[in-house]
């Protein structure tokens, strides 16, 4: 028998019961779509995180006080001061220690409220820290300027708003701990994107002095510790940790990437399992549909046997019905999953809960489709369908011709 004839017969049989075939295909389609959409979004998330980590150098460590700066618990937290800058600078392998102040804030731009961040830092060090960062307009505020700010591109021109902030305009800020401030915009940053857990485009950069003034604290929020070479990152990290014990938290970009990626790969497995379960349910549907079909066509199977079809040929006719069902379901599911993944990506904010979901278009995740994923989404449903169809198809092929021909 030609393979083309086997498939022609299979397709004719499927077309003969259009509704049932369509419903079976929908089952497979949903399974494949879920797999494609979820895995592509999760891939996109981890790719996005990796990309944002890449902007900060592999030789950069972030040192924070061990409990979070906005916790108001009674637990005393270790205070980072100029003394710590000296301690850290003394560690072998440390090239530079950049202290910073930061806090979450609601920035109001022409009536639009944006969840952003205020970071007080030595602005002359900004380009050492964030590779390729630059101004599209104006200049960085000077060290001693406590009224000026350089703002991220999203704050200058919020998405979904016609407002456009110019240099020397005012922006007002409500701090997350209460209180409000206003700054004169001196510089506007070029679009940059996310770094670690913050979005540069949603950040207001101010001088150290302004930071100290407005956050009403003489203690730093944290340090960026830059090592002389990337190889020394882990030894420096170990030295800091042995020096401070549990008083500080030290993060290095590389370890953050790997820990996030392990979370995201766990997520991929989990999401894949959800897709797998829906495919399994679909497979049970195929088995069921095929059993009914074999029952209904008992007489036809008897006729095929009388015409000289061998068991193997009858098996392949029925199995190819499953293959066609799986192939169409897989193909449609992959296409549906492709579009679905953009929807999911739109709801999946990157990073540590800066803005709420959908707060800004730039912070959403682009799904990533690998050839592996597409191939898997196309072939796995076929494999599942064949497995699901195997038992009913075998049953068809092993029927006794005489019995089958008498079946009413």
């Amino acid at each position: 028998m030609f393979v083309s004839d086997v498939f022609r017969l299979a397709i004719k049989a499927l077309l003969d019961r259009k509704m049932r075939s369509a419903l079976t295909i929908v089952g497979i389609m949903i399974g494949a779509a879920v797999i494609v959409a979820l895995i592509a979004s999760s891939n996109g998330l981890s790719a996005g995180i990796s990309a944002s980590m890449g902007k900060i150098g592999a030789n950069t460590l972030v040192v924070n006080s061990a409990s979070s700066s906005f916790s108001s618990g009674s637990r005393t937290q270790y205070q980072l001061s100029q003394n710590d800058v000296r301690i850290l600078t003394a560690i072998t392998g440390v090239a530079e220690v950049i202290p910073y102040y930061d806090t979450r804030a609601t920035v109001t731009v022409g009536g639009t409220a944006i969840e952003g961040e205020i970071e007080g830092i030595d602005l002359s060090k900004l380009s050492d820290l964030y590779k390729g960062i630059g101004l599209s307009d104006g200049a960085y505020p000077t060290q001693t300027d406590t009224t000026a700010a350089a703002i991220g591109s999203d704050l200058a021109a919020p998405t979904g708003s016609s407002v456009q902030i110019e240099v020397n305009q005012m922006v007002s800020v409500t701090l997350s701990g209460g209180g409000s401030l206003a700054f004169i915009v001196k510089g506007i940053l070029s679009p940059y994107g996310r770094v670690l857990f913050s979005n540069i485009d949603d950040t207001i950069f101010i001088s150290m002095q302004a930071g100290q003034l407005f956050l009403k604290t003489s203690y730093y929020s944290g340090f960026y510790v830059i090592t002389t070479t990337a190889d020394e990152v882990s030894s420096v990290q170990a030295a800091i940790e042995s020096q401070y014990g549990s008083n500080v938290r030290v993060m290095n970009a590389g370890s953050i990437v790997s820990s996030i990626q392990s979370v995201s790969s766990q997520m991929t497995v989990f999401l894949g399992a959800i897709g797998g379960i829906s495919l399994f349910v679909a497979a049970v549907g195929i088995t069921n549909t095929m059993f009914v079909s074999v029952m209904e066509r008992t007489r036809e199977i008897g006729v095929l046997k009388a015409l000289g079809y061998q068991s193997g040929q009858i098996l392949s006719i029925f199995l190819s019905e499953a293959v066609v069902t799986g192939a169409i379901g897989g193909l449609l599911g992959t296409i549906l999953g492709y579009f679905l993944s953009f929807l999911i990506g739109g709801m999946m904010p990157m990073g540590g809960g800066g803005g709420g979901p959908m707060s800004s278009g730039a912070s959403t995740t682009e799904p990533v489709f690998t050839a592996d994923l597409i191939l898997f989404a196309l072939l796995f449903p076929i494999a599942i369908s064949v497995l699901a169809g195997l038992y009913p198809a075998r049953r068809a092929s092993r029927m006794k011709a005489v019995v089958a021909l008498k079946y009413e």
């Binding site: 004839d5 006729v303 015409l307």
Partner: protein
Amino acid sequence: MGLAGAVPSVETTEVTKVYRVGHVDYPALGGVSVKIERGELVSIVGPSGSGKSTLLNIIGTLDRPTAGRVRIDGIDLRKLSDDQLAKVRNRKIGFVYQSFNLISRLTAIENVEMPLITRTMPRKIRRIKAIKLLSAVGLVQKARKRPTELSGGEQQRVAIARALVTEPALVIADEPTGNLDSKTTREVLNYITEVNKRIGTTFVIVTHNPEVSGATHRVIVLKDGMVEKDQRFQRIDAFAS
């Protein structure tokens, strides 16, 4: 009798068939030995339960005897596997049934092509053969119709075309006119007689209809699983030579 030295089309030797239901045995055939020469037009008659259909299934290689030997065109079926039996069936035997047994979702021409598909015959060639057979039974205009769009007589002609498209040596027909009126019965019968005469295809027909058995050259009467009578009405040598 028969052609000198020719292998008989069908030869059964002491064929028995016992059906076992639970612990009870039901003998259906009690030792049937018949020899049907090539080109014979034979009918098998007998009351229901006499074993006609059982014998037909065994000759048609759809069922195996409990004991005894069956040869089709000299091939001993005992030694063959199920797949080999399927091949013998496809190459040598055509089937015609009372209820036509056409595949309802396929058109007339597709039904006729079915036995050729299993042979890995290219589509064009099978089409040509199927059209030839459909025009021989006078249905070439209805080639694209499905069985449900055809009358009973037309359906049976499609089934006959399907049985003959493989150019079988033997056609087995189980009550082929059982669902037809007397006019179409006569048409079908005329066609069978004509094919038998012109091509020399062997026909074995199970029937209750005296008109059908009357048109055959030999009537085998079965009773209680045994051959009760075996009558020839016309020497087959008359047209075989």
